[in-house]
Symmetry: C2
DNA sequence: CTCGTTCTATCCATTACGGATATATCGAGA
DNA sequence: TCTCGATATATCCGTAATGGATAGAACGAG
């Protein structure tokens, strides 16, 4: 049985995995997605982004994919990525943790019931 | 109107705020709660924990609370904390972001549908 | 009184982050 | 075709966050 001991995933690392899972396959697109989905409260600069992509790739969580000649007009500068099997498992595990924390947050009264009195 | 520009919240910072919101008011108890609620996948060592508490306190997100002489048998070593109004707002905002990310994870198929084929 | 546990606190090495900078390609338009 | 701003990737560097080791005081059981 393969070790499921995944290498530690950084916050930025999860953002990137999530963006790729959502179909944003190249670096620049990932930046925009993260900014948008978090309402601007998380912003990956180029430094963090490409360093994170390199680490995820070295850890075997993502791999470079061939250019998609279909819909996209083929931009030679772009590098596309996709999740590996391991990357998918890691992303799922992290997503489950997030869900758990969101549930705890709800238990703690941190969700919903906003400005009830005011 | 007060600035809502909260100081940046670190991952460890949110864990601590959540633990306090859940009623774990002193450092050592927070360590145990975080370990437990995350199934051991997040572990705050003493270094991170107390440094984080100090920073949260300096930023006005938490404040020290008087010892609870009621249920607890009074342990003079313990230091109790509670959320400030600002801390509560920040925790809520972060919890909402978490929820959003969990929802995106679901959209990406990272939640549920586990080992369908196997 | 003694000892193991609880609890807070600080120090240090490693790592992650954020932003500036560099460079190359693309597409629009003169 | 030549120029220029926007797109896209990549690296560098200073700052901050993390993890783990270490220290030491107060607690409770025996």
């Amino acid at each position: 049985m393969a070790k499921v001991n995944s290498p530690p995933l950084t916050p930025a690392g999860f953002q990137v995995l999530l963006a790729i899972a959502r179909g944003h396959a190249h670096g620049y697109g990932i930046m925009g997605f993260v900014d948008e989905v978090t309402g601007g409260s998380v912003q990956l600069g180029p430094g963090t982004l490409y360093r994170t992509l390199a680490r995820l790739s070295a850890d075997g969580l993502v791999e470079e994919a061939p250019h998609r000649t279909e819909d996209e007009p083929h931009d030679a500068r772009r590098r596309y990525y996709r999740l590996t099997d391991l990357g998918l498992r890691v992303a799922r595990r992290e997503a489950a943790l997030l869900q758990r924390l969101a549930a705890e947050s709800a238990e703690a009264g941190l969700l919903g019931e906003r400005a009830r009195t005011a």
